[in-house]
Amino acid sequence: MFLINCPYCGERDQSEFSCGGEAHIVRPKQPTELSDDQWAEYLFMRKNIKGVQFERWNHAHGCRKWFNMVRDTSNDKIHAVYKMGEKPPVE
């Protein structure tokens, strides 16, 4: 449990948000061209990092906007919050 600084609403309790998992997984441009292995990679395989991870969050019980977050999964410390479409900060 932690506080999240929503880029639109400011600091709120984590229970207001829902996590959308790993960020920057690009949707295939031509789905018809994908092999089964590539589909598996896109749909299921995750880095699941212990340490600094880039992820998507949604302020579900607030502004309902999506944004990205950089969080250390080993201690739940948040390093950065940035809007969708913005470049991820380099750690």
């Binding site: 449990m1 990679e41 995750r46 880095k47 699941n48 990092i49 212990k50 739940d76």
Partner: protein
């Protein structure tokens, strides 16, 4: 058996004030090379080593544990054992485990306190009723005992449940598996450790794996905090940390690691003599032999390795518990903790070879791995020893995420995941 536990050994040792009991397992330094290495000294890992030694005659093996044995999810779960899963593949897997549980204390010569007190799953809405009845039929077709109980029978089986139609999620019935129950989780790890040690398995604690050495598409050994150890076969049974080990070998797994919480109350006199689970409101409760209520809560909905959970998850579970059991309204909770569970997209485990020769994974047990401990160890040992799966774990391969042949137990397995 060099140190068999029995009434006679108990009496004999009483004369020496119980000061001459032999150590149940050793504390060896790692050798330079092993036939196989198991990463992870929890119940599943120790059971794997035990069955590798016992059934496949592989004695030159080691279990590497970064902390102490049974200190991870084995010592953090709510000890529930059942096999009432919907799909044939899961029913086969979990009932295989349940059959081993039934004779495990005798087999290990170690009292794991297995208690077939029954597990009851409640239905709170019409869809629950339809789903649970369907599962009951599926279970019976697979030879697994299951019965449907109406509201009155639920009340009769567990009188403290509030079956009033006026509560927010009224009890419309439930299913009961009488062969299901609980076991003492620590004893399971200790019993397997003692058994494996006796057959020559090295159980090496405080030994963290730092890297997997690969030569092309096969493994050569593991880099650990106690130096490099050579081996041709590595079985990874690292639960929440499976992805961490996979990354060391350059693999990606379809897993997300999340904290799952449980809590226990102050000890009270016997009040609930079974296990009651409720999918819709996510509350399950049983009572330990010490008298504590053992309560399982949900997972946090984000990846975290912190071994603690969010307060709101506990709050949600306790709200549901209080509505179902108003009698507990003044109970005090004593302890709360979290364990890191590795969740698969289809909520079924992976017991599988990988495309790296000699590297095997037993992971993805998510929120319900304890119940499968003996079966999981047995089948994983078979997979490692023969380099191919047993027919009971063939469906639980890693390739199912490519082929699409998933074993979708989400919501079908009688609990919410």
């Amino acid at each position: 058996m060099k140190n068999k536990y029995s009434i006679f050994s108990l009496i004999k040792n009483a004369f020496s004030q119980h000061e001459n009991w032999k150590q149940a397992w050793g504390d060896p330094e790692p050798k330079r090379e092993y036939e196989a290495i198991i990463i992870g000294g929890g119940g599943h890992g120790l059971a794997t080593a035990y069955y590798l030694a016992k059934k496949h005659n592989m004695r030159n093996i080691a279990v590497l544990e970064k902390g102490w044995i049974g200190g991870g999810n084995t010592g953090r779960n709510t000890t529930i054992i059942r096999s009432n899963y919907l799909w044939d593949a899961s029913a086969g897997l979990y009932d295989h485990a349940l059959k081993i549980w039934e004779n495990l204390s005798q087999e290990l010569n170690y009292n794991i306190m297995f208690s077939q007190r029954g597990v009851m799953n409640l239905a709170h809405n019409l869809q629950d009723v339809r789903d649970l009845k369907r599962r009951t039929h599926a279970n019976r077709l697979n030879g697994i005992d299951a019965v449907w109980l109406n509201t009155d029978q639920v009340k009769e089986f567990c009188p403290i449940i509030n079956t009033s139609p006026d509560i927010r999620y009224p009890v419309l019935g439930g299913t009961l598996q009488r062969r299901a129950g609980t076991a003492r989780h620590d004893a399971v790890a200790w019993g397997y450790a003692r058994g494996a040690d006796e057959m020559g398995v090295d159980i090496i604690q405080n030994c963290e794996v730092k890297g997997i050495k690969r030569n092309g598409d096969k493994v050569e050994g593991v880099e650990t905090s106690k130096g490099f150890i050579k081996t041709k076969k590595i079985g990874v049974v690292a639960a929440g940390h499976s992805s961490v080990i996979a990354n060391m070998a350059g693999l990606k797994l379809p897993l997300e690691s999340k904290p799952l919480q449980a809590l226990v109350s102050e000890p009270v006199k016997p009040i609930i003599d079974t296990v009651v689970m409720s999918n819709a409101v996510h509350a399950y409760v049983s009572q330990s032999d010490k008298g504590e209520l053992v309560i399982g809560a949900g997972t946090d909905a984000y990846v975290s390795y912190t071994q603690r959970g969010s307060h709101d998850v506990v709050e949600g579970t306790l709200k549901a518990i209080l509505e179902l059991y108003p009698i507990f309204s003044r109970m005090k909770m004593l302890r709360q903790w979290g364990g890191i569970v590795d969740i698969c997209p289809d909520a079924s485990p992976i017991i599988s070879k990988t495309n790296i020769k000699g590297l095997y994974f037993n992971c993805g047990w998510g929120t319900g791995g304890f119940k499968a401990t003996p079966g999981s160890g047995d089948l994983f040992a078979h997979t490692i020893a023969n380099d191919e799966p047993h027919k009971l774990n063939a469906a639980f391969n890693l390739n199912r995420f490519v082929s699409g042949d998933l074993v979708d137990e989400h919501g079908a397995a009688a609990v919410a995941h």
